[in-house]
Symmetry: C2
Subunit: 432 residues, 2 copies
Amino acid sequence: MTQPLRIALAGLGTVGSGVIRLLNENGAMIAQRAGRPISVVAVSARNRNADRGVDISPYKWVDNMADFGADSEVDCVVELIGGADGPALDLARNSLQHRKSVVTANKAMIAHHGMELAKIAENENVALKYEAAVAGGIPVIKGLRDGASANRVERVYGILNGTCNYILATMEKHGSAFDAVLKDAQDLGYAEADPSFDIDGVDAAHKLAILAALSFGTAVDFGNVEIAGIRHVLAADISQAKALGYRIRLLGMARIDGDRLFQRVNPYLVPESHPLAHIEGSTNAVVAEGNFSGRLMFQGAGAGDGPTASAVVADLIDIARGDCGTVFAVPADQMEKSECAESGNRTGKSYIRFIVADKPGVLAEITAAMRDANVSIESLIQTEKTDEGLVLISMVTHQSRERDVVQSLEKLSGSSSLQAEPMVMHLLSDED
Amino acid sequence: MTQPLRIALAGLGTVGSGVIRLLNENGAMIAQRAGRPISVVAVSARNRNADRGVDISPYKWVDNMADFGADSEVDCVVELIGGADGPALDLARNSLQHRKSVVTANKAMIAHHGMELAKIAENENVALKYEAAVAGGIPVIKGLRDGASANRVERVYGILNGTCNYILATMEKHGSAFDAVLKDAQDLGYAEADPSFDIDGVDAAHKLAILAALSFGTAVDFGNVEIAGIRHVLAADISQAKALGYRIRLLGMARIDGDRLFQRVNPYLVPESHPLAHIEGSTNAVVAEGNFSGRLMFQGAGAGDGPTASAVVADLIDIARGDCGTVFAVPADQMEKSECAESGNRTGKSYIRFIVADKPGVLAEITAAMRDANVSIESLIQTEKTDEGLVLISMVTHQSRERDVVQSLEKLSGSSSLQAEPMVMHLLSDED
């Protein structure tokens, strides 16, 4: 096994360049750990002449990356171009069909087409690895697939989007408004020019669907993730939550109840005693609760070229060592789609915030609606006008069925007392 | 590969019984994940008739566990009897020599004899796995060996002993004295009747030596771990540290500087902004800093039958899947013993606490000794008599060479102003 593992790199953005830099810098050590060298033999990207800070002249340049699949000098294709479909998917499918292992950082592709690709990989007896697709540099795919493998995991959840966590933690620290912090984050490069993919929760949902499949042995089911983002979180929500002993974090939460799968991305109120409450900045963290291990948490950088390259190359080392096991924890053809658990049946405490008109009777109207829907209120605060010029009523309910909370809000729908859609966030508990 | 992996269990204490319980409870799922069933075929322990809460009648009972090595019906021996030498070591050595894979939870044996055993395993091309030996249920061995494999790790450290963390966190919470908390911990079963192995840092040092070898590719070197425990930590130290923005935690800390290895177990002052400051109760956490991944942290239950069984069985699943790679991250015969880095050359901030006589001139004497040794003081507090009836002087130094701190204390040695040995703890920083 002293033949090098020959890889082709498709995509030379920051992550692709990071992989080259990593292999250059740590190459000797990696060869020792992998039992053989890992060598880039060919590269491809949209623009051959972009300045990448790494020298790509030693590698064969390929104009059409689709050619990697049939290239007999390539053992493994590293897909770093992104996008759920299109060239990335064509390349992955074609490479696997040509019995080449594939390593990818592409969460959208795995969330949408992971089952199809996994079946091809397992039929062809090659590897499909995607450590970098979830939580950047944190080895959580291996942690769940191999580290927690003895456990029935019933709940997996975490902070899966660094941009959102940065924004929420910064709003919390400075009491600033969402729009201002988002703008700063864009200026600093922590958020994209078009940030909707991150802040509306889609990115976290891709990752969550992958984690759920890996943890529960069910088919990847991105289509059934309930998704809400952080756009409507107010600074006042954060300070209100803080006064109650909670921090607001965007969580991806997946749970299996019998054969019903529940998946949700939503801002949650996380109790200060929970380790996720202390995850600051753009850090990511994933919690898995196993029936023997208890609560495991994996934490680290969720993005960035260095951490992502670290995850890509760890997958390459696995492949060089000969690990071509199942793509998820169990063979793909044994992974079945679960029924979707109805969120209305779930019970828990909720935080509900109303932006209300400054007039008499509003509180009576809201509390009557809650009562009529059987939602009992644990605590309630009506605040004076906020910095944003709004009058807010925030409450935390007692344990309630989510269906009842929704119904109480339906009763209020269209009321002239409300100046915006109410905001509902769930309180993270051991029961979620 | 549908032949079961046939295992023999040596030792049926809480962990051994936990392994049986886990395999009974999660067996079908494990067979799916491992690609084949994992079956206990034989067991052995000191007392055949102890009440263990699990039925051992389905398994062959073997009086002399040393016979497992030569048993042709056994593929893999699980050693759960403990002790660095004696029967555990004989069993592990003998089993590997008979080309049986070995899974162990025995940190003392790996810390003392890991290199010898790893060489036998690699020569015979069988697995030697020890996930359960470090940090209980947290998959940190796999996390470092496989997850962080692309990185040059220059520092690995963490909270490696749950008993100590429970005691320190409880002292912090209630302001209670070490002896009282230890006694409660013993009554609750969180500390052993003879707790010295835990509270004096030896247990953490075993784990640290293993983590260092795995992270740096150097030979396991338990003999060169500097060890101090938590016996002399006062409630006043904890409140003093807290006032300065720190929590006291017993850390194992290993660092490689060029080819010099530094390993220390010591109570540290951990800044509140560091994730380790928030590790409460008997939880363990390990931080690894990779040159591409950045800071990774793995956290979970560091002990207990369920978490430890989870780690043991994860190793068995690896073996059933056919992963018989190197024992550490690199082949054992390439792991060389590093020079030991002299701690005197290290620089950092230290917390020094004196118990002093209540008489004039003491402060002048201490500060003069510091000045003469070139140790500059950043902050200093002399407290009134504590609950324990002591007068304390606590200080934090500016960045100083550890050698100079030691020298300053030597100058004070034998002084009638001091009523006990001074206590030195280092401040955790990014430079440690």
